[in-house]
Amino acid sequence: MIKSSRSVTVSRRDALFAGGVALSGAAVALLAGRPALAAQHAGSQSAQKDASVINTALALEYEGINAYTLGAQSNLLEKPVLAIAVKFQDDHKVHRDRLLAVLKTLGATPVREKSLAEYAEELEVNKLKNQADVLNFAAGLERGAVNAYLGIIPSFADHALAKLAGQLASDETVHFAILNQALGRPLPAAMSFGV
């Protein structure tokens, strides 16, 4: 999720917003493992917008973590499937921690994680009646995350940052593909993500 480490200007930020989710210097630099560069950008005009977008991503990861908790607590999953769900949830926790680290660097307040009951209502988990429902539900969330992360890749001038966004999208794609397989569905068509 992210943007280039080149100079940060308003016009450049506008260009980023034309392509999808936008993050700017500090967040990008931190996520790319460049803390010194992150510090350089922190406090800039674009930092507030970075924090806003990162918080949106964090909210997405919080939702994913809680969705897997709800799935696990549904007692609808067979043991092997449950183990996979827990692994996927761990991946989302890794994403969460990376995003929290970015927000800390920016001096921004992280978005609130809602209660499990709130997520249950928003995601209508009461409609899940069997394992296939849960898998389909999770697959939908993962596909949405893939598309959200892919949507930001064209924004990058720095190929390393585009690669990082691709790594995040890849995690979600792996999740989606495995869930899709578990549902017994055909393999996704070529070029079916990000459109």
Partner: protein, 127 residues
């Protein structure tokens, strides 16, 4: 009978005017828009529940920042935007340019995609 064509034309004009007054979209493919909505928007939004973003059902004709219980940015709450085909198109084109300080960082660059998504949001399925 001789007046039928006139009546048809008048009916079309009136219904067309009413449709545009509510901001529905001419030329948009709501069915394709629904597929695009499902693919691109549902990571954060749904029709009936506010999640990362606010619920969308009934968005046409609603003032921006007015879904009860959703934590909007001050910029959106302060805006006087009313959602219709034109304002939604501007929003999806570049949310930050349209309402600086808002929180949504996702845009839809392709004009036809925007038109179709907006057509879905204005369709009976999303009202």
């Amino acid at each position: 009978m001789r007046r039928a064509p006139f009546r048809v034309a008048a009916f079309c004009a009136i219904t067309g005017a009413l449709t545009m007054a509510h901001g529905a979209v001419r030329g948009g493919d709501a069915q394709r828009g629904e597929a695009l909505y499902d693919s691109r928007c549902t990571a954060c939004h749904s029709l009936d529940h506010s999640r990362i973003g606010p619920a969308h059902r009934g968005v046409f004709g609603r003032r921006a920042g007015r879904v009860a219980g959703f934590d909007y940015s001050p910029a959106l709450r302060r805006s006087h935007v009313v959602w219709n085909a034109k304002s939604l198109d501007r929003w999806l084109t570049n949310p930050e340019l349209f309402i600086p300080g808002q929180k949504m960082g996702y845009s839809v660059p392709d004009a036809q995609d925007r038109t179709d998504i907006v057509a879905f949001l204005g369709s009976p399925d999303a009202r």
